[in-house]
Amino acid sequence: MLQLDHVQSDSDGFRLSADLTLPDTGRIAVIGPSGAGKSTLLDLIAGFRAPSAGRIRLNGQDITSLPPARRPVSILFQDNNLFPHLSVGSNLMLALRPRGGRTRPEDHSRIENALHAVGLDQMGNRRPATLSGGQQSRAALARVLIQARPVLLLDEPFSALGPALRAEMLGVVQDVSGKIGGLTIMVTHDPHGARKFADQTVLVADGVAHTPQDTESLFTDPPPALRAYLG
């Protein structure tokens, strides 16, 4: 259970308030107009931003003051999800052994398995720049699969991809999050994707992250803020 207990974040005159609870498992979409604070919400959960008030708890444990790496959270950014100078395999190895140290044979098989899971067999030696956009996203997903953290955050990672590819990637995400078996939260500005992907949706608008609602019913009967956004 991920709990944002009266959380507030202030920066440059912008305030986001969130007081909500998310389940342990399942897929949740975060939707709302740009600039409403979707990424801020993710940053709060991932630990890149400290709240000015309130606590964040995961399964009862207070993680408010933990640095990003110590949170049971993995994240996919909009871009820069892979180090461009390292091969895909090396990128995954860093995720596996972020503090260095000797690699073990089973590390390699874990990496191979992860690559296989996202459909990138034999791509371990390639540099990110030699991969297509879709393949780069798959490689990044292999990385979160390796990290296997209970909470997976996605910050519009596929916005640069075309519609077909984006749908395909959502499939891979579902696959990966199913394998990890935790909670997946994805920021998106694509209502269609949200409906296909998420059971529940958090609407972020006017500085407030609202309590999650059933995605279908939310979109069938959108509140005014969402209606304005959907146009």
Binding site: F48, P68, N81, F83, P84, P98, G100
Partner: protein, 505 residues
């Protein structure tokens, strides 16, 4: 956090190396005199020549760098390396090369004479500026060229696909880059020229061209008036740091961040007039920078193989010192690749080397014999004076790496060690190679003795050149200069090349 601690330690080391000697000199100096009329005159000339020299260097570097950024031709990489050579030559050698072209009996006047045009005199303020541009145009060009190459090719393609005119491209992409880079290039060169002495005097043609540094030299060497030297050195330092503050403020706009690392074909503007104009700039800059070097080589190449063993030995010492300086400087510069570091590093070249030498001597003397520490101090000082260039080169990329990758590193929980070795340094490799090459070459070419620290048994190559000249052996000195030029360029090429070895990155 560890990175912060390292940065603070590095900053303290630089500050200590500058403030320590200054404090030691001040403690010894007693009451400081007020500047006299001759000092004001020296100050005026110092500022005039430094502003003109830095302004001309940067102004000429912009079209040169632009031309080099846009054109691809065989030997371009080699040319860029060679164009850096004047910056790393010992001044005395460079001045002789410069005068072989622009002097009374130089090639230029020879050609003019052939055309029946009366000879031109190089001596005067214009000569000082010409010499300083000769020394610093390469540095300015490289700094600005880096800026040009740092414009992500995606942006240039976007501009091309939008069909922007050259003027629009300039305003949208190039001007903001120039606004960031040129103030800093200007200030680094301004500060270098601020402490010019032998070049300013020789090319200036006489005591009209008296700089503050000459007055400091006179106070220390002849009058042993430490108080006066300290006063003048502080004036010089204050000017440099003020200029540095202004430049940092002017160049405070953020950079572009790095691109996607794809080796996209660069946008080339194929309009014939532009191609011609660019070609013209490249040819002109090449002739201006390389003809004097060619004269240095021409005058000395014959003597290289007849050089006595002591010269070769000195070359080895210089190599050792250069490598040590480079290592130290790279550690320093990597830790200090930020705004504060850039400002602080300027102080290293702004402080008169003579005062620095005296100060260090006073500090070291109670604990150790300065003779024994000569090479160590030389390596340390070479690293210190190369620092502003290294920091300038590393900073944009270093900051971009942090901006682009620090969140991923945090999300993965990379340890500081893994971050530095697996991400930061590999990403920094290209500018690191360039900075290391420059530092190594500068350390080779630096005279290698600062006042009062001379190693009786381990002369450096520039020192041997000076000694050969002092013993009338001008031909051998010319030969040793060619050796020095070759070694400096070789080191520069190796490091710079090493930084770029992996073409895929």
């Amino acid at each position: 956090m560890a990175a912060r601690a390292v940065a603070i330690i590095a900053a303290l080391a630089v500050a200590g190396l500058i403030l320590g000697p200054v404090a030691a000199v001040l403690a010894r100096a007693g009451d400081m005199p007020v500047p006299g009329p001759a000092d004001w005159q020296a100050l005026r000339f110092t500022l005039t020549q430094a502003i003109l020299s830095a302004g001309a260097s940067v102004a000429l570097a912009v079209p040169t760098a632009r031309a080099l950024a846009r054109r691809r031709f065989p030997g371009r990489g080699l040319l860029i390396t060679l164009l850096g050579a004047p910056f790393i030559l010992p001044t005395i050698v460079a001045v002789l090369g410069l005068l072989a072209v622009f002097g009374n009996k130089g090639l230029l006047n020879l050609a003019l004479g052939g055309l029946g045009v009366p000879p031109m005199s190089i001596y005067g303020l214009h000569g000082v500026v010409l010499a300083h541009v000769f020394f610093n145009l390469p540095l300015a060009t490289r700094m600005i060229l880096q800026g040009w190459l740092a414009i992500p090719s995606e942006r240039l393609r976007l501009a091309a696909s939008l069909g922007l005119s050259p003027v629009q491209v300039f305003r949208a992409l190039e001007l903001p880059m120039l606004q960031r880079i040129t103030p800093q290039a200007f200030v680094v060169i301004f500060v270098i020229c601020l402490s010019s002495f032998a070049v300013a005097l020789t090319l200036g043609g006489g005591p009209r061209s008296t700089t503050l540094e000459l007055a400091i030299y006179q106070s220390l060497r002849f009058d042993f008036d430490i108080a006066r030297a300290a006063m003048l050195a502080l004036v010089q330092l204050a000017i440099a740091l003020t200029a540095g503050s202004v430049a940092l403020w002017l160049g405070r706009a953020p950079g572009f961040g790095v691109g996607l690392d794809r080796d996209l074909p660069r946008w080339e503007d194929g309009a014939l007039t532009r191609v011609l104009l660019d070609t013209l700039w490249i040819v002109a800059a090449t002739l201006f920078l390389l003809t004097p070097l060619a004269m240095v080589v021409w005058n000395g190449i014959g003597a290289v193989l007849t050089l006595p063993a002591q010269v070769w030995q000195a070359a080895l010492h210089s190599l050792g010192v250069a490598l040590a300086s480079t290592l130290l400087c790279m550690i320093w510069a990597t830790a200090l690749a930020n705004r504060m570091g850039e400002w602080l590093a300027l102080a290293g070249i702004a402080l008169s080397p003579l005062v620095l030498g005296i100060g260090l001597f006073l500090l070291v003397r109670p604990f150790a014999n300065p003779f024994d520490l000569a090479l160590v101090v030389t390596a340390l000082i070479n690293a210190l004076v190369s620092l502003p260039f290294a920091v300038r080169i590393l900073r944009p990329e270093s900051e971009a790496i942090r901006t682009d990758h620090i969140r991923l590193a945090q999300a993965l929980g990379l340890s500081p060690g893994v971050w530095v070795t697996r991400v930061f340094l590999p990403r920094l490799r290209r500018p690191l190679g360039f900075a290391a090459g420059l530092t190594a070459a500068l350390s080779m070419g630096d005279l290698g003795v600062i006042a009062l620290f001379a190693d009786p048994d381990h002369a450096t190559l520039p020192l041997q050149i000076y000694r050969l000249m002092g013993a009338y052996r001008m031909d051998q000195a010319a030969g040793a200069a060619v050796l020095l030029l070759g070694l400096s360029l070789g080191l520069f090429w190796l490091f710079d090349r090493g930084g770029r070895a992996d073409a895929a990155t």
